[in-house]
């Protein structure tokens, strides 16, 4: 792979007029965004039909940097907004790009319900174990004993294992990578984009400013190095075994990739019994 490969060029997808972005030095969000944009080009989905929906927070700013139809919504509500968008126009490829606090805490209910419905969405959840933008408070993913500004003596609030949560709720594609594994992440996002139904990619990423410096990984580089040294690739791992302990090993890989009827499949099938015109997909109708 070279930088000259058309697919790896992302200039067509980045709002260059908004660079430099607001993210801190050593933050992993830019790397994840780069992987996402490369994956989008590689997936060959029609770009005019792509919508990126974000919630609030550092990761929520992603929508503002992509040269695509993009929506920066309210805290936690990216998934239901994206659901409405997708249902209104099933031709759209809708991607939710947001953080662990946004998707796992305030938006947690929407996450599990979108997974339950097998709604045709790709969710990229950047997990930095912290609420970054508000100043480093404990998150639903913060490992036990980690220090944050609202767990100053160490976190005693058990974290979510997000892959396990969405797998249990019904997601059809679940993977976890880190911001350091840019190529593998790219590949996973391509797979997720092309997977019908609810696909979920968790990306562990550094937040040196709010998380790293309180937890003995004072720079983004130190955190990236930690991912490199402590990540274990286990494709197909049972998601109940992929908990993350403070500064412990991180199990990464593609955990789930199953076939299951999507919301749209079931809607057209079941409504089609009463309304025969429905059994033809709306996409087919649109092109007819």
């Amino acid at each position: 792979m070279s930088g000259n490969n058309d697919y790896t060029q992302i200039d067509n997808l980045l709002r260059e007029d908004r660079m430099p972005h607001i993210w801190c030095p050593g933050c992993g969000l830019g790397s994840v965004l780069h992987s996402f944009l490369t994956a989008l080009n590689k997936s060959e989905v029609p770009l005019d039909k792509v919508s990126v929906v974000s919630g609030i927070g550092c990761t929520g700013r992603t929508a503002g940097y992509v040269k695509l139809d993009s929506f920066h919504t309210t805290h936690g509500r990216a998934i239901p907004f994206a659901t409405g968008l997708k249902l209104a126009n099933p031709e759209l490829k809708v991607i939710v790009f947001s953080g662990d606090g946004d998707i796992g805490s305030i938006g947690g209910n929407h996450l599990i319900h979108a997974a339950r419905r097998n709604m045709d969405l790709t969710v990229i959840c950047v997990n930095n174990f912290i609420y970054g933008m508000t100043g480093g408070q404990v998150a639903p993913t913060t490992p036990l004993n980690a220090r944050t500004s609202t767990s100053p003596y160490g976190c005693f609030d058990r974290p979510f294992n997000l892959p396990k949560l969405v797998t249990a709720a019904g997601a059809t594609y679940v993977a976890r990578w880190t911001a350091m594994h840019v190529r593998r992440l790219e590949k996973a996002i391509v797979e997720a984009l092309l997977k019908p139904g609810f696909s979920f990619v968790e990306v562990i990423a550094p937040c040196p400013t709010q998380y790293g410096r309180k937890n003995r990984q004072s720079t983004g580089l130190a955190q990236m190095d930690y991912y490199k040294e402590n990540s274990i690739i286990k494709h197909g791992a049972d998601t109940k075994d992929v908990d993350i302990d403070l500064n412990g090993q991180i199990v990464i890989g593609k955990f789930v990739d199953i076939e299951c009827p999507t919301f749209y499949d079931l809607q057209t099938e079941i409504l089609g019994k009463t309304f025969p015109h429905m059994s033809k997909t709306q996409a087919e109708e649109a092109s007819a």
Partner: protein, 383 residues
């Protein structure tokens, strides 16, 4: 039923159902909602009817999700609606603000029930009128309509969709349990007799489109997702390109326009119904079910020889300041019956500015007014 699935003719239906039928006539093809008494019949009707007309119904996980979903649906290019009642309306407030900030056309039907909190789920109140105006944080203009009958639930739901597209803003139908659950004759005309305001599409080439650059009437045309505009939409304060701009100047420019596009177009938005105001000494100013109940009191007062007029606020927000000011100069008193402890009366009082007395006829909800109580207030105002 006509070929495209629209009902035509005379029907016996309740206000909730009539509102759903109005939405279908208006072109609503996406509904996201959550069950709540007394608004559930709107959702049930939409679940039954939308598949017949090629639309999509989804029952979301809560009202927050419902509100977010209809914003998404609207940006997906489909007219979208949700319905709810008090507790759900409270949950919708944050995303209602997102709708106002991102100028997203949509309709929210609130079948008001008695609160606070769970209150009287099956009984009426008009307690959310100020919440309709100020419920989401920050500064934004509101359009809120208060139907008085099932027929109006049908007609004004169409009006609500038209206003939401014309002014690119969420429009609220502030109905109540009495009207929502009242069954009456509803006449549905054929489609060709129904006026529909279509989405204001951009007229410039795709690459020149600025999603928040307003036309002369302060409303920007709206491209839909998937049409190649590649726009950015954010709840942050933004410039004409839709890019975040964290300055007081950008805030002033944007928020002033959001307020002005409603305020300066008031004459076009506001619908009022007047009767016998010329020469009146007392004017009953009310809305929704209370205005209807007040008709009995007005009739009785007229029989007693009191010169009493009626001003019915079909549109409650934006408020008809000028109209109230003009009337106040000519009359002795306003009588304002409403099913709350005094909300819209504050606006009447403000606009009257002491030129006329303002008499509130409050009611805590659970039932409608006793017309005799309103009559007593009219008598008091005429003296």
């Amino acid at each position: 039923m006509s070929r495209d699935g629209q009902l035509v003719g005379e029907f016996f239906m309740n206000g909730d159902v009539a509102s759903a039928e109005g939405a279908i006539c208006a072109g609503c093809r996406f509904f996201a909602g959550y069950p709540i008494t007394p608004a559930t019949e709107v959702a049930e009707r939409m679940a039954e009817r939308l598949p017949e007309v090629g639309g999509t119904f989804i029952q979301m996980e809560d009202e927050i999700a419902s509100m977010a979903a209809i914003l998404g649906g609207s940006w997906g290019g489909v007219k979208s609606m949700t319905s709810t009642s008090g507790p759900g309306f409270s949950l919708m407030m944050e995303n209602l603000g997102l709708g106002a900030m991102t100028e997203t056309p949509c309709v929210v039907v609130n079948i008001q029930r008695a609160g606070p909190s769970t209150g009287l789920p099956t009984l009426t109140q008009q307690g959310d009128m100020m919440q309709a105006r100020w419920g989401s944080h920050g500064l934004y203009g509101t359009i809120a309509i208060a139907p008085s009958s099932p027929q109006e639930m049908f007609e004004l739901t169409i009006t609500a969709f038209n206003l939401s597209e014309k002014y690119r803003t969420p429009v609220l139908i502030m109905s109540d349990e009495s009207v929502g659950h009242m069954s009456e004759k509803v006449v549905i005309p054929p489609m060709e007799q129904i006026e529909i305001f279509p989405r204001r599409k951009p007229t410039v080439p795709v690459d020149e489109y600025l999603p928040f650059k307003a036309d002369a009437d302060l409303v920007p045309p709206m491209g839909n997702a998937g049409e190649g505009y590649r726009f950015h939409v954010t709840g942050l304060t933004h410039d004409e390109r839709g890019y975040p701009d964290m300055t007081a100047e950008a805030q002033d420019k944007l928020v002033r326009r959001l307020l002005d596009k409603i305020e300066l177009n008031k004459d076009d938005i506001i619908i009022l119904e007047e009767d016998g105001i010329d020469g009146a000494e007392v004017v009953v100013c009310s809305y929704g079910i209370s205005a209807r109940v007040a008709l009995l009191a007005v009739k009785a007062a007229r029989e007693e020889g009191i010169k009493v007029g009626i001003l019915r606020l079909v549109t409650v927000w934006p408020f008809p300041d000028q109209k109230i000011k003009e009337i106040a100069k000519k009359i002795r008193a306003f009588v304002v019956p409403e099913l709350n402890a005094g909300q819209v009366v504050l606006e009447v009082e403000r606009c009257a500015g002491g030129a006329a007395e303002t008499i509130l006829v409050p009611h805590m909800g659970g039932a409608v007014h006793d017309p005799d109580v309103i009559l007593e207030a009219i008598r008091k105002g005429s003296k």
